[in-house]
Symmetry: D3
Subunit: 138 residues, 6 copies
Amino acid sequence: MSPTVVVTRRAHFNAAHRLFNPAWSDAENARVFGPCANPNAHGHNYNLDVSVAGGVDPGTGFVLDIKVLKDLIEEHVLRRLDHRNLNLDVPEFAATNPTAENIVVQCWRWLAPAIPAGKLVRIVLWETDRNLVEYTGG
Amino acid sequence: MSPTVVVTRRAHFNAAHRLFNPAWSDAENARVFGPCANPNAHGHNYNLDVSVAGGVDPGTGFVLDIKVLKDLIEEHVLRRLDHRNLNLDVPEFAATNPTAENIVVQCWRWLAPAIPAGKLVRIVLWETDRNLVEYTGG
Amino acid sequence: MSPTVVVTRRAHFNAAHRLFNPAWSDAENARVFGPCANPNAHGHNYNLDVSVAGGVDPGTGFVLDIKVLKDLIEEHVLRRLDHRNLNLDVPEFAATNPTAENIVVQCWRWLAPAIPAGKLVRIVLWETDRNLVEYTGG
Amino acid sequence: MSPTVVVTRRAHFNAAHRLFNPAWSDAENARVFGPCANPNAHGHNYNLDVSVAGGVDPGTGFVLDIKVLKDLIEEHVLRRLDHRNLNLDVPEFAATNPTAENIVVQCWRWLAPAIPAGKLVRIVLWETDRNLVEYTGG
Amino acid sequence: MSPTVVVTRRAHFNAAHRLFNPAWSDAENARVFGPCANPNAHGHNYNLDVSVAGGVDPGTGFVLDIKVLKDLIEEHVLRRLDHRNLNLDVPEFAATNPTAENIVVQCWRWLAPAIPAGKLVRIVLWETDRNLVEYTGG
Amino acid sequence: MSPTVVVTRRAHFNAAHRLFNPAWSDAENARVFGPCANPNAHGHNYNLDVSVAGGVDPGTGFVLDIKVLKDLIEEHVLRRLDHRNLNLDVPEFAATNPTAENIVVQCWRWLAPAIPAGKLVRIVLWETDRNLVEYTGG
């Protein structure tokens, strides 16, 4: 049986967002989210590490061609999020606060059904060099 | 005479912006700036490297205390730009396109008069890990 | 049920230490620890990655506010270790060798009881860019 | 009982390789592997993160001396791969395509029997800053 | 008069090479270049930082559109060097040793005539994270 | 005439230090240097970038062999500073405050006379990822 390896591709996107719960008053949003609730938005260079686990194909030596994984991330995630305002331009965050936690879970929902070989096992989203979140589907 | 050393402090800020020339039509802005002209903005984690040159003080061994430089960057730059929408929240970019080039020159104008020892000699602004600009006051 | 996400905050501290077992002779310490046993100490810029897992709060979109996590790391770890000599200034390392392994376990003991939401699941301590240790509480 | 900690050492090597399945025609190799099948090879700066888990020795405070781990990686991996053409200079890749997946599994086979304390638990191989693979022995 | 700003774009390429002077004996090449003279080549992930200085255009706020600079680097450098064996696949290095020094000078010769606005002022080539060269046209 | 290229080698060392002017009272040292004056020292992972400029040798394609530069940095700098307490173990800092400014100037004095080909043109010393100093001999 071929060994199981995890393959990870790192992608980048630039986006604006505002931490904001539309069910709350402006004062409540400002109290909870501080400067992150600035109505005109701020932004980030996000890094996204997408990991797929599977057996190594004896013919190619690949779990899946990392170029295929790169293209899937572009099609299913970057096309929706790159150079966007997450609150205003992305329907999934119209009513859901675009925190790193909610973004990483949404990326999983977009990507998991699209992986053609192996299985999506982990997504890490870096909001800054010091703040990151990780989701494994649970 | 004491040697002349350049001291650099790196700071970070997160901001949204839109590349946009208000004197142009929307179509012209879209043609020139592409996805960077998205009306709802996108954003970045900016890094800012501020460099001051001067003689080394024989008493302290400092050109200037880097903690002082850190505080000056917070007061003169980060307080204005961090967690802001550059086009909408920063008066200096109300009519000036907030490209990396224009931001770095504006940071110089804010910081140069405030340096208490030595002389501001270089500011580098990183918009992403691959795109950066550098200004030396000329 | 809300998804479970791991949130990580990276912190930094600068400290001096000496690898040294007080129960051994100087010669034995020198033999085992080499230049790391230098009596006058050497030092490092440590990075500390603290990870908390939990359900995403539907109101905030957070597992826990990462600013809260940042403040807890400052209160429980950085206040004790930053700009210190680990052997001489930190009671927990008076009789315990401040190896990366022992430091990361001690950080866990300080932080685990303090996490207000979710659960501490992993701490990674980087002693240099090439040497790191990881503890998950076992 | 002493806590269990994972210790990781990062190593580097520079190598040339060509993605190529000798059982296939040149056209098939070009179709599957694209520019990576260039007959004259291309190359990478590889990073290799080797992780060993074990109890912390009460005398040394180490799982294993990271200098020992460094030396084992040099002896068992770098001596074979650094400054080499993986296809032409490394017998294990004469008939096996030197994809990142196959390299990381081979590094495990070389290293696992050599670890003197604790147990090899993870190897991560970075082919570029954006492409990496991880193997845990399964 | 508009301020003069330096704009830098970082690009990447992966290549194999061998340090080798065809005018010397194999023994002389091995003595001077050590493992870098391995006949079957080794390789690197190269980073290339290309810097252009010029006045900031009042309409666009750009020295030159960094996307244009990115495309020029792809056309004039990456198309020639990426996924290649520098000695065997690149005519300019058929008789010239592909050291970092010679590569960076060659990149300058390819790029300098192509810059449409501003002036090429610096190219930095990173062969590894610790070895780099810089050329300013002199 | 051969082009002039700048070659840079990055080296690392780990050291403890205390910012302290022995001519001042303890209170004055604490007031000026804050936690950096901690009598038991703290420490850093320093990075040192040493740059040599010169003509490219037509035979080797080198300004100078970067392995030679690496060895010179080890002999003239790392042997003195790595795994040391700068104040207590290094005679040059017995009476001179080991600030980053004073360290970088001292490294220049050690290295400049030793460079066998080309000319030392710049040394950059990183005390942390955010604090660095640069000396060009003036």
